[in-house]
Amino acid sequence: MSAALPVPVIQLLQVLTVALGAPGVTGVIAKVEARLQGRRGPRVLQPYYDLAKLFHKEALAPEGASWFFLAAPVIAVAAYLTIPLLIPVLTTYGLPLGYMGDILGGGFLLSLASFVVATAALETGDPYAQLGSSRAKTFSAIAEPVVLFVVFTVALLTGTDLPYALAATVRSSAGQVIRPAHLLASAALFMVILHETGRIPVETHAGTNEFGMIEEARAFEHSGPFFALLKWGSELKQLILYTILADVFLAPWGLASTRQLGAVILAVAALLAKACAVGCVVAVIDDSFAKLRLFKITEYVSAAFLIAVLGVFTLYLGGG
């Protein structure tokens, strides 16, 4: 078939796929969500138009905010764009930079991005942005034990904590897919992703309802290109988390196992299709459950924690 691509090009393609695909996936989810609610919904390409519009606007900063206020969105997007180098986005084989960080490395980058955005919100002096960032930090701290136990499960299953290794393990046999530890860890991770992308249990991710805005509130004072970067960043985060769920845990099939151009193009299409499928499931869940009150968030997280802990337990008796 076609010519083999050089490895660095494939690595660059991983980043580009995530960077350019993320707004599209958000658009598809918004469309599906609107159809489920009986609305016609925005165009699928609307997030791209939004970003283009914001990039052409003027950027303002609150009086007294330091340089960090403007640097934060750039650092956040840079962190998000580094993660696709570490996880299997398009290929089954590890790319040269793929082993410079493991799952924890990816987790650190996600936390770094969220940390700089929260710090920038503190810079503004706006109580609403500060409230949002303080809540976001608190809730992600509550969800952290679940993520840890999911990582433990991966480590026990594969003996490493490399995302490529888990994907290869899952692909290796049907027994690996059906084993309770794998299914429980995937379920717990899915619950964390619902929580982290602002769907369930308390947030309204795209709303203007003040009580439901947590992640959204942090970007309140940003404007123009910097606001666009923050929006793009949360779309990137969503696609990255979906990629981890689909390509590492649930369905690591359809990835390119060679360097052929055709295989890589197929892998791009497969990734976007899988991300949209996950997004549709998320939209259905988002539309079918009522939001909880804020303090009930511990109930939701404790359920995810239970599932993750059981996943680790089951491995200890050999059968899991």
């Binding site: 026990l156 003996g159 027994g175 309770p180 429980l184 802990v309 337990f313 059968g319």
Partner: protein, 241 residues
């Protein structure tokens, strides 16, 4: 178990399915800790019992034990249809004004749902690792070395303890009855994975034990309601002396 043995290859597909079903049954048990209303608990009980029947079918197909199919059917008829029906009618008759929910059930938790789940995790871990250290091997006949259901058995032990926990943290007769019925589910699960070749007559006898329990609990619920006008057991603490 050492880490090295956990990293080994996954068990077979049948055993994997059996373990997943046992794990989901345990999760449903935890779900009951969180549910406030008796009708939701009955619904979860139905789901759990249905999974038990599915597990019986899986084991029957895997180990070639045709009488387990009969047991699966009987158990489904009894636990998915009959027992929930009886419980619903019982709770419905207690207070026809409130069509759906009997008094005293909602809000009978002594712990908040998150704390109850954490306490349940501790209980489950205790049961799980106790049974894990016993190293009970499954039946040898028919399935060879693969028939060691250590995981499903340990999950059943965890379920037993969590169902005790459910009876302890809820202060109403209906939840306690449901907790007792799920205890029976956990024991059936253990019996299925350890001694699936048990004669059908014995397995059926267990099921009829359940029927007796339903009758006893039914009388208990009615008597308690007649005396206390509520299903909550909070009043019983004042009966001393």
């Amino acid at each position: 178990m050492s880490l090295a043995s956990a990293v080994q290859a996954a068990p077979g597909v049948y055993e994997g399915v059996a373990n997943v079903i046992a794990a989901v049954m345990l999760l449903i048990e935890f779900g009951m800790l969180r549910q406030a209303l008796a009708r939701d608990q009955i619904r979860l009980y139905m789901a759990q019992s249905a999974l038990l029947s599915v597990l019986a079918i899986v084991i029957a197909a895997d180990r070639n034990l045709p009488d387990l199919y009969a047991l699966a059917g009987l158990s489904a008829a009894l636990k998915v249809v009959a027992v929930p029906l009886v419980m619903r009618r019982l709770l419905g008759r207690i207070d026809p004004d409130i069509a759906d929910e009997a008094p005293g059930v909602a809000g009978s938790q002594t712990l908040s749902p998150a704390s109850a789940v954490l306490a349940g995790i501790v209980l489950a871990a205790f049961g799980f690792f106790c049974f894990g250290t016993l190293k009970i091997q499954g039946q040898v006949g028919g399935h060879g070395a693969n028939g060691a259901p250590a995981l499903a058995l340990a999950l059943a032990a965890a379920m037993v303890l969590v169902s005790f926990g459910l009876m302890i943290v809820r202060r109403d007769v209906a939840s306690q009855a449901i907790g007792f019925f799920t205890l029976e589910n956990a024991i059936s699960l253990a019996a299925l994975v350890v001694a699936s070749a048990l004669p059908l007559i014995l397995e059926t006898a267990f099921l009829f034990d359940l029927l007796v329990a339903v009758v006893v609990f039914g009388m208990l619920i009615r008597t308690h309601h007649a005396r206390a006008e509520s299903l909550s057991t909070a009043d019983l603490t004042r009966l001393r002396g």
